[in-house]
């Protein structure tokens, strides 16, 4: 018994890819519904902020240089999209599969173990973030708001960002007693990040304590990275943001698996 309790590290084989296959098979039927938002959303946002708010703000200072407001927020929209895709996939969609459809129960009676199922689900959330990012980048490119080839690095970054928010989401999925409770993490975690991660205005305009707090939020680092890549302005300091996202996803990934085992293995 003691041996098993110490064994908290995820036990994962490449079998987790079976979950990706299963989910992609479902997506082949529903892709229209899943990927319409990443195509339409940036158009709506860019219209609203570009034609509406943009007329008031016009320019904003980014690293000492003035950039148009639309160019400032376009990368943030990509980062938010990465967050949303993975987070909603691994909260609501995963919860439905786990709780209502009992899909995990059925798979746990096969050679796959729970760790692999959860890994497959989280990686799937990241894959969805990645696909949505490619679609969204295609749309934003029409507005000439991305600097290539640097912006291409946003694609692998989207996968890492997907792992970050998918793992956090999976922790909530392991904890919530019922599906309505997801409103709490959305209200207390996602919405504040959406607003206060350097998305629509520079962090420097915030009071000092809020700036420090913002550094804890993973979206702050994702926005910083996506914005730098989109504008083609890479610098060494970004490596810290990348490391932060890496360790954040590793930590929450292990936590998600431990919490899921506690919930489902009884």
């Amino acid at each position: 018994m003691a041996v098993r309790e110490m064994n908290w590290l995820p036990q994962i084989s490449p079998r987790f890819c079976r979950i990706l296959q299963r989910n992609s098979q479902v997506l082949r039927r529903t892709w229209m519904i899943s990927f319409l938002p990443p195509i339409l959303e940036p158009v709506l946002y860019l219209l609203a902020f570009g034609a509406g708010l943009g007329l008031l703000v016009r320019e904003i200072s980014y690293r000492g240089e003035p950039v148009s407001y639309v160019a400032y927020i376009a990368p943030a929209l990509i980062a938010i999209n990465i967050m949303y895709n993975a987070f909603f996939e691994n909260t609501f969609a995963s919860y439905v599969r786990m709780y209502y459809q009992k899909t995990y129960d059925a798979i746990m009676a096969t050679p796959l173990n729970l760790d692999e199922i959860i890994t497959g689900e989280i990686v799937w959330g990241a894959v969805k973030s990645l696909i949505a990012t490619i679609l969204m980048m295609a749309v934003i490119s029409f507005f000439r708001l991305l600097v290539y080839p640097q912006a291409l690095l946003i694609v692998p970054l989207a996968f890492l960002g997907g792992l970050v928010f998918g793992s956090v989401a999976m922790c909530f999925t392991a904890l919530v007693p019922q599906i309505e409770v997801f409103n709490f993490p959305i209200f207390l975690f996602i919405t504040p990040m959406f607003l206060f991660s350097g998305t629509f205005f520079p962090l420097e305009t915030l009071p000092h304590w809020a700036q420090v707090l913002a550094q804890v939020l993973p979206l702050t680092h994702l926005v910083a990275l996506v914005r730098a890549l989109a504008m083609g302005k890479l610098e060494g300091q970004l490596l810290l943001s990348l490391l932060y996202l890496f360790f954040f996803s590793a930590g929450t990934f292990i936590l998600a698996i431990v919490l899921m085992r506690r919930r489902l293995i009884i």
Binding site: Q25, V26, A106, A109, T110, P111
Partner: protein, 343 residues
């Protein structure tokens, strides 16, 4: 002198007896018992003092059982008896709290993945994948067992035919009736050609037609030599399918044996039921020391010699509502687990 030796293989109570035989002078064969030895087949499932505790509750409290290959073994019990907890440990879903549990001779705690690869499981809820079609359900499930896609498609078609579902190949799960869903769950459990099929209440909630359809398919599988472990609270189902069964309650095994043996050992051959028994009959029953049960407005008398006793009772004590019937597994079940509600 030429001595012809034959290896004799006989089945005695599920065990293979292997010995050497030689011809005798009078033309008979003599089995040399000195060289005969018992070759105990490795049990499919073996458990000893198996326990499962969760939330401070002992759901399974020291179960020891042994199930052979090719056998249909039943676990019966009222709701909350520990049936599902037991099978969930057997198919590697729940960790064992204490005791030994081996499936295919392998320790479930060390070789869960191997054991699961060779088992087919039909859980209590219909957890088919509603996001996929009937055919996709089978093929996708096959992928979890690393079955190559071409094989999986062929096997899926075979199983749909076997389960009489071939016309529903492209249907969505929610379009299927309860009976069809259940058959599809069983088909799915067979996708990996398992050596052990575990069914947790396979026919709960089905109409009689569907239930008999499922039984017919299970009987066919059993005839092919598949080992089947079944939990149920339908006595008819257990009597119909099981070679051997246990009745469980409060996490423990109460009795174990073949369905008929259990009936004969615990309640006899016949049951005489009397509606609103008279005082004189009750007195007679008690004085004759007959095995009986008094319910409200009803008396049950368990007996091995139904005809004679029934004659005596129906003539002497009964004016209405008195009947003689064969004893069933349900009588055993109710006698052992009591009649009070369990929810």
């Amino acid at each position: 002198m030429v001595v012809v030796c034959h290896t004799v293989v006989r089945r005695i109570g599920g065990c293979r007896t292997v010995g050497l035989s030689r011809p005798t002078a009078d033309g008979n064969w003599l089995v040399d018992l000195n060289v005969a030895y018992l070759e105990m087949p490795e049990p499919l499932i073996f458990s000893k003092d198996l326990c499962k505790t969760f939330n401070g509750l002992k759901a399974v409290d020291g179960i020891s059982l042994r199930m052979s290959r090719g056998e249909c073994f039943g676990i019966l019990g009222p709701n909350g008896a520990g049936k599902t907890s037991t099978v969930r440990m057997i198919y590697g879903f729940s960790p064992v709290s204490s005791g030994t549990l081996k499936v295919f001779g392998m320790d479930i705690q060390k070789h869960a993945r191997l054991i699961k690869a060779k088992s087919g499981v039909c859980q209590q809820e219909n957890n088919l994948d509603p996001d996929l079609t009937v055919f996709q359900n089978l093929v996708t499930f096959a992928s979890y067992f690393d079955i190559p896609r071409a094989n999986a498609r062929q096997r899926a078609s075979e199983l749909l035919r076997f389960m009489r579902l071939e016309h529903k190949e492209h249907a969505k799960i929610l379009e299927l009736s309860g009976g069809m869903q259940r058959r599809l769950v069983i088909a799915r459990a067979l996708i990996n050609k398992p050596e052990l099929l575990i069914l947790d209440e396979p026919t709960t909630g089905l109409d009689p037609q569907s239930r008999h359809q499922v039984w017919a398919r299970l009987a066919e599988l059993k005839a092919q030599g598949l080992g089947i472990l079944l939990t149920t609270h339908y006595m008819e189902e257990a009597a119909h399918l099981c070679d051997r069964l246990v009745i469980m309650d409060h996490g423990r095994i109460l009795v174990e044996g073949g369905p008929l043996d259990l009936i004969h050992q615990n309640v006899g051959v016949n049951v005489i039921e009397v509606e609103s028994p008279s005082e004189s009959l009750l007195k007679f029953v008690k004085e004759s020391d007959l095995d009986h049960e008094e319910l409200s407005h009803r008396l049950l008398i368990y007996t091995r010699d139904g005809e004679t006793l029934f004659g005596k009772i129906s003539e002497g004590f009964c004016d209405r509502g008195c009947s003689l019937r064969m004893a069933t597994l349900e009588d055993v079940f109710l006698k052992l687990t009591g009649r009070e509600l369990r929810d």
